[in-house]
Amino acid sequence: MTYPAGYRYTKDHEWIEAKGDLGTIGLTDYAQSKLGDLVFVELPKVGDAVEAGKPLGTVESVKAASDIYAPVSGEVLEVNGSLKDAPEKINSDPHGAGWLIKVRLKNLAELKALMDGPAYEAYLALPEQEGSH
């Protein structure tokens, strides 16, 4: 799977697609493959504030629960409610239908700290990546 060049990526394997101050956030293909088949998703509510680098929710496979970290700070505008009954969408289409939340960004400069597609792919290729998550 390729990583859309227009998305920005975190070292914790979240992505954000920003249009102006509106951002859609999800988990990367690498993240979903490491986590395995997801069975449960816990997301914030519309109106909640999320803070860059802080947990915004949780995904769970049969094996374990994992935090999802917010790539940026902002206010939650929309939550992907279809994941409640179909968390496997994150596995099958992590960069599309498996999106998690939409936010209004508080500080556009936070995007600059994130990687673009090629930089993220280079990050994944680092040897120390294996086993560090």
């Binding site: 493959s33 490491k34 395995g36 088949d37 069975v39 449960f40 816990e42 949780t58 769970e60 496979s61 049969v62 094996k63 374990a64 629960a65 086993g131």
Partner: protein
């Protein structure tokens, strides 16, 4: 702190096979082990294969300790009786039992399966993460006995073939008549052309199955693995990792070291009294256990089923209706067989009644669960009387 397991991770003889099959690998107790095989369906498919058909596990990371006296003086048995809590004197040659080694406080060094190989000859199968500790502990605590202690942990590749069709697969490869082998009995015989292979009707899945012990060289190990996979093809065999091993054992309410049993948990708390034979005479831990019994149980292990949405996990706190902390979850997971979220938790005996409401603290939310009977899953018995006790 430097974790030595990170410095030198160990591999079983089948490591190359797991990697070639695209297994997701994890460090488990210092061992590089497969957690699931996504290419053949992953954890849930593996779990269901074992419940409904057959699966194969590489469990070579388990350790093996042989304790014996060559002249059958009885010192081997005496040593085993001293260091384990079940009564090994009741075992026939060719029979095995679930047991445990205890600290003087009545808490767990490890749980073990004791096999009686001969009149005064025993094989203890121990856990991977506790191997070195166990071996040292056994050496230390058998000093007073005129017995030989051998660490055979690196000698065997141990394969677990598990599921209702395990017997069909194993019988295609083994010369001894396996249907004559009762649960928790074992024999030695020809398997895949190898002579004198230990074949035990044991496992850690709550399902019928066999564990076979073959020489641990890579060539033999890979050859046997391939033959089992071949023989199992018509029954839909899949390779299974530690993920399915955990959900299977949890449904069957089998203990996992570091979770339901540990150096801080005693036999009564762990609910393993039926495997602890205080009346057999003194053994390491028996004095403390008698005292603990007289004082009464402070906490007990219960099975819980989530009512609210959420999955209980190891280490999550438990509370009562009033929000007061009452205990802790030791293991928790979605149950692939039941389609429910289940767990095991330590709670005070007063809160342990069937149907009692227990709240699990899941990331700050008090989620409702109820106490349910265990095992969560029990297979229909097909293979003769269960003599494991």
């Amino acid at each position: 702190m430097v974790d030595s397991s990170e410095l030198k991770i160990r591999k079983t003889a089948l490591n190359g096979v797991h990697r070639a099959m695209g297994a997701k690998m994890v460090n488990f107790g210092g061992w590089d082990m497969p957690v699931e095989y996504p290419a053949t369906g992953g954890l849930v498919a593996e779990h269901k294969a074992v419940r409904g058909g057959v699966g194969i596990f590489d469990v070579s990371h388990m350790g093996d300790i042989r304790i014996y006296n060559e002249r059958s003086s009885g010192a081997g048995l005496a040593a085993v009786q001293h260091i384990t809590m079940n009564d090994a004197s009741h075992l026939a040659i060719g029979q095995a039992q679930y047991s445990a080694m205890l600290y003087p406080a009545g808490t767990f060094v490890d749980d073990v399966i004791v096999h009686r190989l001969g009149e005064d000859d025993f094989l203890l199968v121990i856990n991977a993460g506790t191997r070195e500790k166990d071996v040292n502990w056994v050496l230390e605590n058998t000093k007073a006995f005129d017995c030989t202690v051998e660490n055979l942990s690196d000698s065997y590749t141990q394969l677990a073939i598990q599921g209702p069709r395990a017997i069909d697969v194993a019988q295609k490869l083994a010369r001894p008549n396996l249907s004559a082998l009762k649960n928790y009995w074992f024999t030695h015989g020809e398997v895949c052309g190898l002579q004198n292979v230990l074949i035990a009707r044991t496992g850690y899945t709550g399902e019928d199955g066999f564990e076979i012990y073959v020489p641990s060289d890579v060539k033999t190990s890979e050859d046997v693995w391939a033959k089992v996979m071949d023989a199992g093809r018509e029954f839909g065999i899949v390779p299974c990792g530690l993920g399915a091993r955990n959900t299977l054992r949890l449904e069957a309410r089998m203990s996992l070291y570091g979770h339901e049993i540990s150096e801080n948990i005693n036999v009564w708390e762990a609910g393993l009294a039926r495997f602890c034979k205080i009346e057999k005479g003194d053994f390491v831990g028996s004095d403390a256990l008698k005292k603990e019994k007289a004082e009464g149980l402070k906490r007990t292990l219960v099975g819980i089923e989530m009512i609210d949405r959420g999955i209980a996990r190891d280490g999550y706190g438990c509370s009562n209706e009033a929000g007061e902390p009452i205990g802790v979850v030791t293991s928790g997971s979605p149950s692939p067989t039941l389609g429910k979220n289940i767990g095991l938790a330590f709670v005070p005996p007063a809160m342990a009644g069937l149907g009692a409401t227990i709240y699990v603290d899941i990331r700050g939310q008090k989620c409702k669960s109820r106490v349910v009977p265990t095992p969560f899953y029990k297979r229909e018995k097909t293979a003769g009387p269960n003599l494991e006790k």
